[in-house]
Amino acid sequence: MSIEQSDHSTELTEHPATFPNPGLPPHRPRLGDEDPKAAKRSERLVLLLFTVSVLASIAAIVGYFAIPVDPETGSVGNTRLSTLIIGLGLGLGMLGIGTAAIHWAKSLMNDHDKVEERHEIAGDAETRSTAIEMFNDGAKDTDIARRPLIKGALGGALALAPLPFLVPLIGNLGGDWDISRFKRTAWAPAANGDRIYLATDPTNRRIKASDVTIGSLFHVMPWNLPEHPNYLDEKAKAVVLLVRVDPQDLKETEERASWSYDGIVAYSKICTHVGCPVALYERETHHLLCPCHQSTFDVTDEAKVVFGPAGRALPQLPIDVDENGYLVAQRDFDEPVGPSFWERER
């Protein structure tokens, strides 16, 4: 801005540093303020909207009674229609009232801006000094300044008093608090030493090694698991994916050579990231993919993580076949399944 160039120097001499607030602008009349016909039109529109609301509400009630959804006479179509009519009726009933009220307010009610003064939030000096005086009087009445022991005792008692409530509350929430259960699954051999058969999930049929063709994927659980008293808890840990790959593709360490059977490997289905079931298998690449956060594991390479947020390979279940050719677990997993936890390695 080149102010100097101006030759109207008189105009430049006395300008305030900032613009003054001009105050409220003049009221801009609405159509209805000047034209009674327009106001009448607005009134009619308000009436119409209220009427729409009334009709819609009635329609919803009629729909409620007219459409049966009980098991004998109902159908999916009826449920759908009933939902639609009750919902539309309620929705339009509400919308009619809302639009009518707002149109009324905006087009017909007085729309002149009004001004109200604000007061400072804090009390003025007098209020404050009165309040301080009152507080000091009260504090003096308690005599706490001269008896500091009471203050300490009160604090201590208040700190402890919630505990008889909180300790039983929290103490009961965790059941038996036996977190070592994280480390055991239903694959552990029974008390009499019987090993656990692999069975299909959810049909609970035992699996013969010969049924497992190359490239096929079996969703597996311990045989007869549904009879377990804590079926879902156990299933949440014990589910396994069974895959047969060409034994030549399998990269096995010596330690794990005996864990597979003729190219058949079994890995925990519970993701080591946050525990979703690793449900997708890509036959071409031998990759298992968790649909929740896309952790990817390589079946041929001890289910190590190829991509994604998981930090560890899927635990491998050591398997074997019995004399009849049925697949069976040698023992429980060697490590805890599922997401990590603080005491995992202990």
Binding site: H15, N21, D70, P71, I121, F182, P202, A279, P309, S340
Partner: protein, 561 residues
Amino acid sequence: MTTDLAPGPKVDPKIAATADFLDTRLGISKMFKGLGRKLFPDHWSFLLGEIALYSFIVLILSGTFLVFFFVPSMNEIHYPHDALPVTMQGQPMSEAFASTLNLSFHVRGGLFMRQLHHWSALIFVGAMVIHMLRILFTGAFRKPRELNYLIGFLMLITSLLAGLTGYSLPDDVLSGNGLRITDGVVRSIPIIGSYMSFMVFGGEFPGMDVIPRMYALHILFIPGLILALVAVHLFLVFWHKHTQYPGPGRTDKNVVGFPLFPIYVAKAGGFFFIVFGILGLMGATMSINNVWNYGPFDPALVGAGAQPDWYMLFLEGSLRLMPGWEVVIGGFTLSLNVLIPAVVIPGLLFTILGAYPFIHNLVTKDTGEHHVLDRPRNAPTRTAIIVAVLSAFFVLLGAGANDLIATHFSLSLNAITWAFRILFFVLPVVAFVVTKRVCFGLQRKDRELVLHGHETGRVVRFASGEYAEVHQPLDEFERWVLVGQDLPKPLEIEPAEDVNGVRRPGHTKELRRQNLSRFFYEERVEPVTPAELAAAHATGAHDALPASAGRDVHELEARSH
């Protein structure tokens, strides 16, 4: 009998008896005197909080309906063979899931109420978040409203908990896996994680307790908490009087607006019905969370392409982006791959969000009361910070949908994930710089408008052959909005040494504060001053024709002919 307490104006006889009854028992005339004609300023963005409030009321109403038909039990039953839908007949499932199916198919209006409830929840949290952004962008959190901001922030947190607990109740495959992820996240917390997992589930996942527990929290504890916070929040809105946008006649010492009765009774009351109506139409026509398509929860099943409700999607995205870091220290396992994205990052985000007004006070040493809002462009650094944080949030939202992006656009999932990992760090920086520049650009545009007026599209030719467009200067009311802002200045501090060459104590601290203050306020575009405007009018021969006087233009036109 009405008692004539005082001569004076008389209320309509039709309501006189009621008014007298209420006044003699509640002192309602005093309340009405204080509140009845209280003024509220008008602006569309003030409706955002209202949308949240009204959605919450709809949530309570529809939730009450659902409570009567939902059975919060994890006991296993078999779905009856005569009940709909056919695909679920005879299937083993929890009573919670069965009652959800029953109330959807065999309770008249039940499915509508479920859908109404779910849509209201999504809109509720959405409206809260956008309301909060409005507060941040316009500086409405500044003194004296910091504490009310904090209450609003607590409502946001409790609402997320309400969403999480409610989403888990139907016990379908999706909600079950949501709980499973929650379990994985809780377990990653150092030292107490395993025990906290037991605390949530009453033992191991899934157990038999989690749904009744979530139910108790969802229908009693959390809504009670939100209701209490709403009451305090609204009380403080009344107590502080509402903020207003800058405009002619508006100052930090007044409120310009319309009275509560009747304008806002009609407008805000009407708006409640509008929100309810639109949510109703959504519940009637837009199906949501069709749990019978997913089936009852089974820990071995999961759906591909499943996303949580939108307000949890950023957590999902952050879990997906994190590389698989896990360390063992002294025999104890630390899952950084879960802890960082699901605990540390949201923890940081929410801490900064909740503390922002106090950070602002600390940085700016701003002690005045503010009742006139900032236009976002006039606080460029703050606006840029908010946009930067938002951009990171949007990256996480995108990452939460990376599988859908991959399948819909036939892209490599790994490439998308890597792109989001990089964007998470780069985009906020870019967003910050760009937003700040855009704000300065808009401020300069405002100056331009004040100095030269509106373009009219009318081009005139001078006698000399020169062409120029006629500009229409702003009237003083329109101009005030563009020049009225009082921009804060960066902190001035004393030199490091006083006149005697002695180092002043506390100088480094002040220096730090000055640097922060400069970061916020140093780069600035000042509003036009009266002197500048006068100069522009005097000199700008073709920029600012004296268009206020149409006569002059006529003269020009006449001369040009």
